[in-house]
Symmetry: C2
Subunit: 337 residues, 2 copies
């Protein structure tokens, strides 16, 4: 089994390509802002998935490079816009794009990224097919983000669409549907792109897609756990940000609310519904959540999806690619950042 550090370096193999596609057709005066999202780090998990999936499917990493670049660009594209939508000021321990450069520039950077994705996809084995899959995937991401916003319990009073359609109750099934769209779909596509780059037959493409889908659930559940229980110096993000952002669409908050009885449940929901959630309120919410089995149950769920991901690989021959995907699933099941 590959060591994790090597695997996370794997994704970075696409860095030169990312820069190539991002700088294509760009004015030199715009370069700095364009490079900012991809030069401020990131785990490069999605391109690692594409490259490992290509090898697992019997192909070469080389053939999967443009597709791997495309999924990492798609990830960064969505982050730049999500940070605008969520008013997030910090990512990876640094100012977000809109915070650093301003709203207009952030929007222009995002638009430019989307075109860099198209340019990368045009260098894949089958541009039409890859473009079609990416379009569907990014529409799913949009829908996932729309639901994530509607699951917020307050805020956005200047956004009529959200105010009128907010969900007052969110079930675990609602949550999982949102998570597949917001996170799972792109991980699925990352793996499918690897398989297709290798020219794999349909059952292999399906198995790797299924792995990516399950991994997506595990990954997002991990994100939710880290948001509530993470350590700022490790994560580069503020703890309890989801509570501040009124999110009932965090699995830990959701499971806590589900488990709690009358008064404390109401207190937790009341905090989420506050116009502005101050630091003492976040602290109190974390206390209430910590009094439940929500963390334990979320960890179980994360573990279960990670195992499901690994099981989906069982139809594949044992090779280095499959082994890399297994290690990545283990990383996703246990990561703290």
């Amino acid at each position: 089994m590959e060591r994790l550090e090597n695997l996370l370096k794997l994704g970075s193999l696409v860095d030169p390509l990312l820069e190539k596609y991002v700088l294509k057709d760009a004015d030199p005066e715009f370069h700095e802002a364009l490079l900012y999202p991809i030069r401020t780090g990131g785990k490069r998990l999605r391109p690692a998935l594409t490259l490992a999936a290509a090898v697992a499917a019997g192909g070469s990493m080389e053939d999967a490079m443009p597709a791997a670049a495309a999924v990492e660009l798609a990830h960064n594209y969505s982050l730049v816009l999500d940070d605008i939508i969520d008013h997030s000021e910090l990512r990876r321990g640094r100012p977000t794009v809109w915070k650093k450069y301003g709203l207009s520039t952030a929007i222009l950077v995002a638009v430019h990224y989307r075109e860099s994705i198209a340019q990368a996809l045009n260098d894949t084995r089958d541009p039409k097919l890859f473009n079609e899959i990416m379009a569907r995937t990014l529409k799913l991401l949009t829908e996932g983000e729309r639901l994530d916003i509607l699951f917020e319990q307050s805020g956005r009073s200047d956004e009529p669409y959200v105010v009128e359609r907010r969900r007052r109750s969110v079930t675990l099934a609602d949550y999982l549907d949102m998570v597949y769209k917001k996170t799972g779909a792109l991980m699925e596509t990352s793996c499918v792109f690897g398989a297709l780059s290798a020219g794999a037959p349909a059952p292999v493409v399906e198995a790797l897609g299924s792995y990516g889908r399950s991994l997506g659930y595990a990954f997002q559940i991990g994100d939710d756990i880290i948001d509530i229980f993470g350590r700022e110096e490790v994560t580069g993000k503020r703890v309890g940000k989801d509570v501040e952002e009124h999110k009932l669409g965090n699995v830990v908050v959701l499971l806590a609310a589900e488990e709690l009885g009358g008064r404390e449940r109401e207190e937790l929901l009341a905090i989420l519904r506050r116009d502005a959630v101050d630091a003492p309120s976040v602290k109190r919410a974390l206390e209430i959540i910590s009094s439940t089995r929500a963390r334990e149950r979320a960890e179980e769920l994360r573990r279960r999806y990670s195992e499901e991901a690994v099981r989906a690989l069982s139809v594949l021959p044992r090779n280095e690619g499959r082994s890399m995907l297994e290690t990545l699933a283990e990383f996703v099941a246990t990561r703290e950042f």
Copy 2:
């Protein structure tokens, strides 16, 4: 020669396709917001260009339909984002998308539109080529919008990128460069898409692209004239909005500033540099501008580019398509809305 009303109906032939691509992979709860931009009107000039160019190149409108839908979707995509960037509250006499639904929803609508473009392009004659051209075109649009913003003389004090890079002087050449990118590139692509949909040879593609490029200048100069001298009840937009938005990148403002001597030139520029340009200031700016030959010179420039567009068609055989493009150029040279 075709009558103008019929020509503007021509573009509306793509309406069913626009709705098809926009509603593809969309949740029913999202439909209303997604349909809003395309159902609130618009001249459908770009799809008319694509369809007319296809006929001019000896092809059929039918073959050019997906490409025509793609360019109109691209236009709407850019409008949704431009209205966010410019804080515009009114378009076509109605609230803009962000004003009606909120910022997050507007961003999600825009992202969804971009994917609908990709889906439309996948139904063209050569998806890889059409995708490549669209990606380059949308990167140019981004660059044009970036320059347009940098040509503003005040505002965006919360946007460090803009504040640090603002242009203190803008020449006519700078303006034309910005306009090609912001407006001309997509009109050029609209015509090129028509030609390519018809399977036209390179010189025909080039001639039609050149027509679209010249038309783009004429169109944007017209927009600038209408912004300063238009009538609100005809245009659906507020008069003098560009002055309010501190834009030196409006050709009428630019030509006035160029022509004016000392005191009045300084007064006009001082208005553009005010933090908030109030109604009396807009009125005063319009007075100053009206005292110059800027309107006349802008009209001459518009006419010249429109004629240049028509001249580019001279290599094509006289047919109905070419005749439609000539009528469209006449419309662009004289339109008041």
